[in-house]
């Protein structure tokens, strides 16, 4: 079974630019603008699964 990190490395995020994504071993479990809501939604959709959050960077993003 793949780890969340392995799923992250393989995932295609081109439709999630600038979004938070929740990843479980079945793929992208949820996405959106608010990390808390994305995490909760992923927990509801995949109860018992380990969830990993990642922010997909925007083009040439700088912090602040």
């Amino acid at each position: 079974m793949e780890s969340n990190y392995e799923v992250f490395l393989k995932a295609d995020f081109k439709h999630y630019i600038g979004k938070w994504v929740a990843i479980c071993n079945e793929g992208i479990a949820a996405s959106g603008d608010n990390a808390k809501l994305v995490y909760k939604e992923a927990q509801m959709r995949f109860p018992g699964k380990k969830i990993m959050l990642a922010k997909v960077p925007e083009k040439e993003s700088m912090i602040f």
Partner: protein, 143 residues
């Protein structure tokens, strides 16, 4: 031993590709709440940074004195606190307590690991041409 993580390549709809030095870590908050995240290693940041919604997931107390976080784009309200960062791969498993700045409001900031404490604990090498980041623990105290 050295922890090695590949850069994540992200292709955009316009065909451009961006590669980021991010690593999988588990953030540990109040009451031992653990959230696994991809964190960007940011040698330009003094402190580690998380957004308010991540802090709320970790049940961090945000009632401390407010401060200003200053970046190249200006100032934002923030609260200084601490979290623990668990990093592991293979037989390597470390927990580091770091100061963290929580950016208040609806920020778009990712999880950033800045220099304070974390860069004292690891020798960190960005191997851009190899598209990987290497972390070597400086002292070998395991947790």
């Amino acid at each position: 031993m050295t922890l090695s993580f590949k850069y994540k390549s992200i292709k955009r709809p316009d065909g451009e590709e961006v590669k980021t030095p991010s690593i999988p870590v588990t953030l540990i908050g109040e009451g031992a709440i653990r959230i696994e995240v991809m964190a960007l290693i940011d040698s330009g940041a003094d402190l580690s940074v998380i957004s308010q919604d991540i802090a709320e997931l970790l049940n961090l107390d945000l009632n401390g004195p407010k401060t200003k976080s200053r970046g190249i784009g200006g100032e934002v309200d923030a609260v200084n606190t601490h979290i623990k960062i668990n990093i592991k791969k293979g037989h390597e498993d470390y927990i580091i307590s770091v100061p963290v700045q929580v950016i208040l409001g609806d920020s778009k900031v990712p999880v950033l690991i800045g220099r304070a404490v974390f860069f004292d604990e690891f020798k960190i090498s960005f191997e851009q041409s190899e598209e990987r980041i290497l972390l070597k623990k400086i002292n070998s105290n395991r947790y």
